[in-house]
Amino acid sequence: MGRIIKHVILGFALLLAVSIAFTPAAQAAKEVKIGFSMALTGPLGPAGKAALLAMQIWRDDVNAKGGLLGRKVKLVYYDDQTKPANVPGIYAKLLDVDKVDFIVSGYGTNLIVPALPIAMERGMVFMGLFGLDANAKFKYNNYFQIMPAGPDPIVDWSRGFFELAAKQKPRPKTIALLSADAEFARNAVAGARRNAKKFGFKIVYDKRYPFPGTTDFTPILRAVKAANPDLFYVGSYPGGSVGIVKAAHEIKLEPKLFGGGMVGLQYTAIQMNLGKLLNGITDYWFWAPEKTLKFPGIEAFLAKYQKEAPKQKLDPLGYYLPPFAYAYVQLLGNAIEATKSFDQAKIGAYIRNNTHSTVVGDVKFGKNGEWATSRTFQVQLQNIESNKMSEFSKEGKMVVVYPEEFKSGNFIYPYAKGK
């Protein structure tokens, strides 16, 4: 029996060692600590690292100007490995051990939601980075999400695609829907389904493909071709998006409008991979180097980002996520400066009730902390002539065709004409 007691004592000794390991170091004087979890490894790792770089650029920008209310900014972050189960522990550590002053979210819905209740319990302002309706159940009033999907994200996501389609003459009649079998894609296509109904398009094909795991898309696209739809709306992830674009060319699938919710076409590496094959596709987009999207500060930010990104082997142009990762901390920083306070409730109220100027444009939040109005662009890829990176940093390649307000060029219809 002595053996068991010995083991119990050993266990306690271990616990003690652990608690010593976690004792916070003496706190540096008067820093503002912003804590977050970020996917630095796992499936979202590459994007998460790019987001982190953007946030570090913001930190350096702010500190160069003297910090926030005279206090230097420090980022405290841990890698959540793209695993939701790691998130609760990380935020508890940030708040109870590291004693951070502010928390912001990691990247993506799955990694935002586990942290939301923790922010709620402590009444803290919580900035979200690319969550799709993450706050729908919690309805927490101090949560603010930076992706411009809009108040009804699932429907707003594809609204532009359908408005564009509805304007064409002769008006297209039928649509095919294809979705990867996972969170974002299914939501995007669920929204497209509702829009198809609203706009009166007849759904002639509506299927999901296994995700991950599908590599050959030709049989799927042959079935789509057999249904002969006017419109083809796709909800897919990067690997699938590449496969679908290639397969569509291979079997000469030419609906009148093609694209919609294909993740990945916005990434430089994939653009360089697909090159000319992208021409004519219309997809959701958040930022492109077009004249209508030159928001204050974006070019200065991108210049810094593009200088550093190749060294860290990140997305070299960084048009998709990094500007928003910069903006969501920029917005928080601006709110702190504007309220001249570190009080969470005051800052929350300020963010809720005002319009904010950021590197991604003017942001106003509405229901559930989503953008008050959707600003998901539809971009048509045009005039791409090569696979070179420089091709994609030029104006006139990713042409904003929706909404009117940000339109930067003419929409080419049907798809075959723009191909």
Binding site: K83, A85, P114
Partner: protein, 319 residues
């Protein structure tokens, strides 16, 4: 009741009461969350060891049993929000039944074929859950945890206490099995199934018992998962980590005794928790991987076996 058994049960009771007392004293939520994960692995590793260590059937499908517990709970929460103990019982029941089904597989599949079948089970179940929209499907669903719970100042402390109690209970179950004729029967199956059968060991009954108990414990460990993580989706619930860790921990601790998985889970689980917030987290799996390789090569009986050998050698020297 033997003296040893009495003492063991007293220690178990003391540990449960002790973990409750901790919640009245300590505020810092991080330790509760970190401890929850470690304790969850104590349950999973112990459960795995009942089948893998005692009986010799290597289960790669821990994630399937764990996730079935978690998703049973999600389905119940969506239907009528029962109290946590109902979730635990139902999670255990469903995964236990799944275990029983797997038990019948052992009639035909042995060794590596059994392992592959369990791995496939996880894939198939993940596919089914991904397509079951009531529990969130592939998109996942957010679960609101209860605002408050009597006797605890917040839900995190309560979950920690529940998992601590489950860990103690599962170790106790493993201990009871190991010390009884059932455990000896299982060991006989592990060593030589045919010989055991010839000697009159009821091998099918024992294998069914092992798979059921092992599955049920994994399901029970999974039941509170949705409250812990607040957002559940198939990829994280069926994560391969659960299978790898619950196999590596007993291997590192030692598979033949109840103490092995406990020591392995506490050591590896704690190291992983520390690595997550200190080192880069790629280190996490590297730690498990290198420890696993190291132990398989240099100490195939795990830490417990290693200590036993060292002690035997020292005793030999003294004599």
């Amino acid at each position: 009741m033997s003296k040893e058994r009495k003492l063991f049960l007293i220690v178990a009771a003391v540990l449960i009461v002790g973990s409750f007392l901790i919640t009245t004293q300590m505020e810092n939520r991080f330790y509760y969350k970190a401890a929850y994960v470690v304790l969850q692995y104590v349950v999973l590793a112990t459960a795995w060891n009942i089948l893998g260590g005692y009986t010799g059937y290597v289960n790669f499908g821990t994630a399937a049993f764990f996730a079935m517990g978690a998703y049973t709970a999600v389905a119940l929460i969506k239907t009528w929000k029962p109290p946590l103990y109902v979730l635990l019982v139902m999670g255990g029941l469903v995964s236990g039944l799944l275990g029983l089904g797997i038990g019948y597989l052992t009639l035909r599949l042995k060794g590596v074929f059994f392992s592959i079948a369990t791995l496939a089970l996880a894939v198939v179940l993940q596919m089914i859950i991904s397509n079951w929209s009531y529990v969130g499907g592939g998109a996942g669903t957010a679960i609101l945890k209860p605002r408050s719970v009597p006797m605890f100042s917040n839900y995190d402390e309560f979950l920690f206490f529940v998992m601590a109690a489950l860990a103690v209970v599962s170790v106790a179950v493993a201990w009871l099995i190991e010390k009884s004729w059932v455990g000896r029967g299982m060991a006989a199956i592990r060593d030589n199934e045919e010989a055991a059968e010839c000697m009159g060991v009821p091998i099918l009954k024992l294998k069914l018992f092992a798979t059921t108990v092992s599955g049920a414990l994994m399901g029970i460990a999974g039941a509170p998962f949705s409250y812990f993580v607040v957002y559940i989706e198939p990829t994280s619930a069926f994560h391969l980590d659960y299978a790898v860790n619950s196999l590596a921990m007993p291997m590192i601790g030692g598979t033949t005794t109840w103490l092995g998985p406990l020591v392995g889970a506490v050591l590896v689980g704690t190291a992983q928790q520390i690595a997550t917030v200190t080192l880069s987290s790629e280190m996490n799996l590297l730690i498990v991987g290198s420890l696993l390789v190291g132990f398989v090569v240099f100490a195939p009986d795990g830490l417990v076996g290693l200590f036993g050998k060292i002690r035997a050698r020292l005793a030999g020297r003294e004599a």
